[in-house]
Subunit: 269 residues, 2 copies
């Protein structure tokens, strides 16, 4: 059983609320760690965010998100690398040390080109991140998002990227929503081993009308979360377990009820 | 370039029309091969279907579909194996020799169980099929359908199934819609080699609201169809290239226009 002490609340799960509302509520529910999105930092500012986190005794497991390296022109790719450097400054600025990378995919671009540009982009930002004590987590996304969000579609492929880049501060994120279907998941997780920098949980329900925003609450769908967690832990991962349920209908529930449900499910599932 | 002589028209592409309407139209458009669905045979009958095919000089590349092996109870699994035997009789009865298997997935069942039951189901029907001159094509479906339609989610996994079952008349179907995103596709196709029994083409557009029925016309999406075709052929496949565009909006177009577009795209893309 995972206790609430292992939980990190990815704040997208709670929808479009302010940090001023969400952070105290998390603390009141016994949550000690949160994952932020860049829009939170834009709205609240780095200094004020850091102040809120400290006031409520909250740690930061990660910042979502860097990445989106593929683009048609070299100028645009350079601009995106700069944007990733800014995100690295932001996570360091709020006392965190992990930037999640959603690697990207450029419309109309061959997958092989996107995959090469992703390697180039990560190699370009890894030294900058290392100097600031920031790790980079390559998150493979579900293959249904391969043309829209991430040309990195399996955990094995994410580990290939990590090995190709060869920087000590680059690893992978295992999100059950994206990898649960993989017939070679056990082998891939074992292979990822010490490269696993984060583990995200939500659930999958079929049919999945809006592929981006219909994630289910843990326990409402078909993913063997406990089983995958066992594999991840057998591979050596002992860090936070991040709840990331992207679903406006879930996010719209009253916050106390929502947080109560999440806590209950987190421990039960 | 693929010429129309290589095309097989999977009739689901043309929507809910009768064989009496579709088969003459295909023949008039220079199409020499079609793929049928079991509902066509139910509506038209085996004898009349065979008569229509012969009259219009049409060959049958495959029948869609057998499979759906996983189920909660042994009785239900036995019933499904019987249903597959009926489908084998049907394809043999209209002069065809290939049954496409959509392997299935039972709601609430662990993937490992579904995958074991799929192997058991195929092993149970393979001898029956062989006696009737019928090959069985395991079609991996896109991972977004892993909980709804097929626990076999990658081509490598389909080849694993073929090797595990070890029957000479069991192979795989490569459908670009389902496998295009796979980072290891080239290697998997090379490995599949002589086991490739069919090659289906359509295209993928993101976002994909209805994951079952939004297939795009070849050339309208992002799949490198020619590239994948090159891999399939390098692996030794020289059979029909089946057009299977499941999309009610496309299917609703006037038939002459639709067939003209398909023929044009087939040759161009």
């Amino acid at each position: 059983m995972a206790t609430i002490a292992r939980m990190s609340m990815n704040l997208i799960t709670l929808g479009k609320r302010s940090l001023d509302e969400m952070l105290p509520a998390c603390a009141e529910h016994g949550i000690g760690t949160v994952a932020l999105w860049r829009n939170h930092l834009e709205e609240t500012g780095l200094a004020r965010t850091r102040e809120l986190l400290e006031h409520h005794g909250l740690a930061v497991s990660s910042l979502c998100r860097g990445g989106f390296f593929p683009a048609a022109s070299a100028d645009e790719r350079a601009r995106r690398i700069d944007e990733n450097r800014t995100a690295i400054d932001e996570i360091a600025g709020v006392g965190g040390d992990l930037l999640v990378l959603v690697c990207g995919a450029a419309e109309g671009q061959p997958l092989a080109d996107a995959r090469a540009q992703i390697r180039e982009g990560i190699a370009a930002i890894a030294p900058y991140a290392r100097e600031r004590g920031v790790r980079l987590g390559v998150e493979p996304l579900h293959p249904m998002l391969c043309d829209a969000r991430s040309a990195i579609a399996t955990l094995d492929e994410a580990v290939d990227v990590v090995e190709d880049v060869g920087a000590v501060n680059v690893g992978v994120i295992v999100d059950v929503y994206h990898v649960w279907w993989d017939p070679y998941l056990a082998r891939a997780i074992a292979r990822a081993g010490e490269h696993i920098l984060g583990f995200h949980v939500s659930d999958w329900i079929t049919p999945n009308g809006d592929v981006l925003a219909q994630r289910a609450m843990m326990g409402d769908g078909c993913i063997d979360i406990a089983g995958i967690r066992g594999l991840v832990e057998a591979a050596g991962y002992a860090g936070p377990i991040e709840v990331e349920v992207i679903n406006p209908a879930i996010a719209a529930r009253p916050l106390p009820e929502l947080l109560g449900t999440i806590a209950q499910r987190f421990e039960a599932v």
